[in-house]
Amino acid sequence: MGLEDLADSMGKNFLTTTLGKVVGWGRGNSVWPAQFGLACCAIEMIATATASVDIARFGSEAMRASPRQADLMIVSGRVSQKMAPVLRTVYDQMPEPKWVISMGACASTGGVFNNYALLQGVDKIVPVDVYVPGCPPRPEDLLNALMILQERIKAQGITPRS
């Protein structure tokens, strides 16, 4: 008896792995973004979802409008002083595990605008996992960022960052 005999009787139909890898594989390949399109980068984010640069092949077809059903927030566009508390509230409403991609120069560092009206980088209020430079970044850039994030998610295993 034993596991080896049981496995032999089933033929070569078993894969063994760790739970962390399976969970990471599942989470990474079905990241659902919460659309947080603010300005010009939002148009390129929509373009990432269209046919020529299809984000759906990476598992992110369902861009959920409700943050409660999403696990990735793509901050695309400039964050003004009035919008900052709203962004933080939406981020707080997302359930764990959650990640943030800061898309574009304005979301990463304030971009072209260094003035009173904008937050100089969204990482002042939410923790960011991947920054995408560009004004606006090409749709392929966003896809690259998503792929980097996917590698990170798969490597994290069961417990993501605390």
Binding site: K82, G110, F113, N114, N115, Y116, A117, L118, Q120
Partner: protein
């Protein structure tokens, strides 16, 4: 047209005709123009002439109204100079509905108070913001960029009165 006794100055700047009127007579002047066919208020804004050396300015704040005749396409610009802290002017939003939000924006960014406006509150900045950002003595703000002299000038007040 506007009656002669209201006009303080008039001229043409880069092909655009303009007329300066007394600040107290702005409603009279605009209603005379509206009766004449200039029914579209294209925009309403304010210019802050603090530390402006290009000519002698009668007051610090210049309110600019651009009117257009929708039948002929003719345009005219009306100016009114006001001073004060905060400066006061009559609202024209009952004559020209587009002025409703324009006046709120001018109040928000410059601090010009429009008398008899139904809802003069901040429109672009958060409601608890202190200060009027587009005035020339309000710094541009943002982050100081290290080793950059130009940005240091931006962070301090650009002009002193």
């Amino acid at each position: 047209m506007i009656s002669e006794n209201l006009i303080v100055e008039q001229g043409v700047s880069a092909g655009d005709p303009w007329v300066t009127v007394e600040a107290g007579a702005i409603r009279q002047a605009l209603s005379a123009l509206k009766a004449d066919g200039y029914r579209l208020l294209v925009f309403l804004t304010c210019v802050d002439h603090l530390a402006d050396a290009s000519r002698q300015w009668p007051a610090r704040y210049e309110l600019v109204y651009q009117l257009r005749n929708l039948e002929t396409g003719a345009q005219v610009r009306i100016r009114a100079f006001v001073d004060g802290d905060p400066p006061h002017l009559d609202s024209v939003q009952d004559m020209f509905p587009p002025a409703n939000w324009d006046e709120r924006e001018t109040y928000d960014l410059f601090g010009v108070v429009f008398n008899d406006h139904p809802d003069l509150t901040r429109i672009l900045m958060p409601d608890d913001w202190v200060g009027h950002p587009l005035r020339r003595d309000y710094p541009v703000g943002g982050e100081v960029v290290e080793f950059s002299q130009e940005h240091q000038t931006w962070q301090t007040t650009p002009e002193k009165a």
